[in-house]
Symmetry: C2
Subunit: 339 residues, 2 copies
DNA sequence: ATGAAAGCGCTAACAG
DNA sequence: CTGTTAGCGCTTTCAT
């Protein structure tokens, strides 16, 4: 496995580096290099398993055929799945993926963005902390190709692929109402994320749309890094007050899992006493006791669209591509709502 | 956000590129560059947010400060977690991570290995399909730094970080025996993976160690890409034969989830009629009905050790580092075994 | 203490 | 049709 360079093959075949480079990049015909010469080059490269140094190539070309993916946390199954689909689609379109996790830290995210730029990625897909307005704006101004995924900045004009968060919780809440629940609680994470704001609005609207009353203390937000602990208090206050809830909407999968854990500890019957419903789901939500009704996000489509929009922009192919997508979620009805 | 280069800062400060480069790489003192000059350079770089082009740097240095991670599938929560810990530790040690999924395809894996080499990664962490003996050998011969994770090639001398698969299932099976189960089935994936072989041996040994009889038809292997379908048949034959099992050992999390699904469809009571136990677990296994006893793998330690061994080798620091780790798994006892 | 110059491996005008 | 040559941006030896 001795390393072989472009120069080596040029010398071995007594040709110029140019000829070799051209042929290897599929521009032999276009440059009228004889079929025969082309074949010699291709064969030699093949036999000696020539592999161009991508750093040199990238430096020269000014691009890397690599897409950077920045997400909050790769060990969150939701983002892992997105990463999976981003990777698949990117590969199909000839791009590699470099990923990094921001851990919900905007400083880290910022560092990551610049670090990826230094690494000369051709474009970025970002599930942002939504606290880097300034840097996102810089990217836009610099005309650098990127698309926001899962979370977007409503005040900045960018490409994005998100889901209909409002519609999602609206639907979830209506499902609960349809099943006769009237005291519906809501547990979310403490966050300015637009997605979370929308989820809350969807919940509130569904209740007021149906003419029911919204009880303020039935809404709790808890810290995402300390949710197990805070969940205990949230659940207790919800089920122990005189205005005891008969259902709870959770805005994300790990909250739902944690909430159910607490309900079980308190020996509250789900769904008989309290129904629960979750935005997005974990792997085994259909096996959980009881199976949790959840609002599934189309991770595959999210990943695919993000890559397609990005690559289209990188390659400046078609300006008519729809660069803002709001995807529908899908309600998976299971027993945790009693229905 | 206009791009600024090394040359620009040298010119602006009326210095040579050398001086600037040296200082920026923290070798100012060592090259006796006046404190004052150093400060000027550093300040200027800071203010103009200078960012070295990593491709140029990499090309010149012959390294990229990047680690390549090749795994079967990033959307498998087990590998996603490993990726997460690899990323964290790598970052601490000053490396970036590039990842790609092989989808259990050895051809893809091979392509990935070479593609990463072309991209000049400094080292590789591979959860191999275990069908690329040849290419792994080439890496060894070439002296390229890499470490196998989760799956190793028993016949090749390499660095690796794996778990004690034999011990794991041995333990799991003993747990079942201790709880009075005698007809213990075993469901695994069809695979030559050493890990799977060991898991099977651990199971068999536990049974024979205790002097019980091993019933061949209680062992099933099913296709990993078609497991939901094949699981149905496997479970049915296990519970419907006259030699009905009273427990099942699953060699991986998604098999356990799928198996439980089938048991429920058949209305088999778990654990009363059949106990189940799983090697590794999914996010909500503690909430599942019944909570599934599982043998947890130390993903954090696996990721950390892999990175440490790799970086140690890349930087040729300490040849005394233990480069073969077999980590212990941990049995999380829950209700699915009746105990 | 600082700078000139060569070179990392590849691409691409441009000239023959 | 092919080769010469000049970079891409950064590091680093070797003089000064």
């Amino acid at each position: 496995m001795k390393k072989i360079f472009l120069k080596d093959i040029a010398e071995a075949l007594d040709l110029s580096k140019t000829a070799v480079s051209l042929v290897l990049n599929g521009r032999g015909d276009e440059n009228k290099i004889s079929k025969e010469t082309q074949k010699r080059i291709l064969d030699f490269a093949e036999q000696n398993s020539y592999r161009p140094n991508q750093m040199a190539r990238g430096l020269s070309l000014g691009k890397s055929e690599t897409i950077g993916l920045i997400i909050p946390n790769i060990s969150d199954i939701f983002y892992a799945r997105i990463a999976h689909h981003v990777e698949l689609r990117a590969k199909e379109l000839g791009y590699n993926v470099v990923f990094s996790s921001s851990n919900e830290n905007s400083e880290t995210e910022k560092e990551l963005i610049y670090s990826m730029l230094n690494r000369q990625v051709d474009g970025l897909i970002i599930a942002s902390t939504q606290k880097n307005q300034k840097d996102i704006l810089k990217l836009t101004e610099a005309g650098f190709p990127f698309v926001l995924i899962d979370r977007h900045y409503p005040d900045i004009e960018t490409n994005y692929v998100i889901v209909d968060n409002f519609g999602g919780t609206h639907n979830m809440t209506r499902h609960l109402l349809k099943n006769g629940r009237r005291k519906i609680g809501f547990i979310s994470i403490k966050s300015q994320l637009e997605a979370m704001v929308q989820r809350r609005l969807g919940y509130e609207r569904a209740i007021s749309d149906e003419g029911f009353e919204l009880l303020k203390y039935h809404t709790k937000t808890i810290d995402r890094f300390n949710y197990q602990y805070e969940m205990k208090a949230a659940i207790q206050s919800m089920v122990q007050s005189e205005q005891r809830v008969d259902a709870i909407v959770f805005t994300t999968h790990y909250l739902a899992a944690s909430g159910l854990r607490e309900l079980k500890l308190l020996d509250i019957k789900v769904p008989q006493e309290v129904a629960i419903i979750s935005f997005d789901e974990l792997g085994a939500f259909d096996l959980v006791d009881p199976p949790i009704t959840s609002n599934k996000q189309p991770v595959d489509a999210m990943g695919n669209h993000a890559v397609e929009i990005l690559v289209n922009e990188i390659e400046k192919k078609n300006s008519m591509v729809d660069n803002k997508r709001v995807l529908r979620t899908q309600l998976l009805i299971r027993k945790s709502c009693g229905a």
